[in-house]
Symmetry: C2
Subunit: 202 residues, 2 copies
């Protein structure tokens, strides 16, 4: 039986940890992130919902000095030092042929057939759902006491070519550093919209 949590709100501390006090860091403490921590992040993020459980995200965890140097060369000037200083930067890519995996990822139905022959629909689904997965990754990392620094100021074609060379149907979409954020490297939090500004009822 599935556990349900109806009417139960996480503690204020937990909400602070994953949303209210979590920040995007521009610099990192000199403290490593282990493979076990990355496994734990992935094992949480993969539980988040994607359409037909398609799980189109393909991740490269850049942890080696060589990988960081290469990735930083493919980032905008303002992002280069962030990447070399971070213990890990994840590249979030998406697989345009994710539907090949659906027979085992979504055994309830012949979901593969829904996407065959329609590359445009696959691209739209792969982009949307891999972005969801990236957001789950950010929340999962925060839930484990880590911080994130997502970035889209990077050369996506160059990153695709270098880091997904062995996966010709995968395209890089954005990158996200993971580590222990240095509190001296953040600015004041940017303003957030009031409820009603970008929401309505129907």
């Amino acid at each position: 039986m599935t556990k349900q949590f109806h009417g139960h709100t996480l503690s204020d501390d937990a909400l602070d940890q994953i949303f209210n006090e979590a920040r995007t860091y521009n610099g990192w403490l000199n403290k490593p992130v282990s493979e076990d921590q990355l496994r734990h992040i992935y094992d949480l993020m993969k539980m988040g919902p994607t359409s037909a459980n398609m799980q189109p995200a393909r991740l490269v965890f850049v942890t080696s000095e060589e990988g960081k140097t290469k990735l930083s060369e493919l980032a905008s000037e303002g992002n280069q030092d962030k990447i070399t200083a971070a213990p890990v930067t994840a590249i979030i890519g998406y697989d345009i042929d994710f539907h090949e995996e659906l027979p085992w990822l979504f055994p309830h139905a012949d979901a593969k057939s829904w996407f065959e022959g329609d590359e445009e629909a696959r691209k739209a689904n792969a982009k949307r759902n891999s972005a969801l997965q990236g957001a789950y990754m950010i929340i999962a990392a925060r839930a484990l006491g880590l911080d994130c620094g997502p970035m889209s100021g990077v050369d996506l074609d160059g990153i695709t070519e270098h880091f997904f060379a062995d996966q010709p149907r995968v395209k890089a979409d954005w990158v996200c550093s993971i580590g222990y954020g240095d509190p001296d490297t953040i600015f004041d939090r940017s303003p957030r919209p009031e409820f009603g500004k970008f929401t309505s009822f129907a």
Copy 2:
């Protein structure tokens, strides 16, 4: 000073609530969701990071009988009853002209100028970042003891035309019911990939 949570992992119960035991529901208990709850969801999700704090998501919370009937008519057959039974279904749209809001959303820099005259870049950013925001919405709802049922089997053009008629630069991208999930309406959880299947190191 920003609160930090380095090395602090959320409790197993909290991780179960937002990831491990949370499920996508196909049916809903007859129990309302209040406007205060939707405000709380929004006030959490808006704290999640978006590129240059662009916050491109535009949400319509469909709560009226009339709205639900119309939205269900614009959904695939398998999704119609889910929408009429749910207390709320959120339409997640994105604003292609989000950059007009950047002078107040991102006061640190002239971020509006980065996007002027490049509608393709704005579309890619709006889609990616509104998807992140939708994922934050799902986690926020779960963190408050609610369940979600995201769906992409809908007529996006029809929904855009009807529900964003007053916002010509906004496009609907997917929808997500919010409520108290009926545990009798879920199947076995679909398989999840092992670490290493869709991840690698560099």
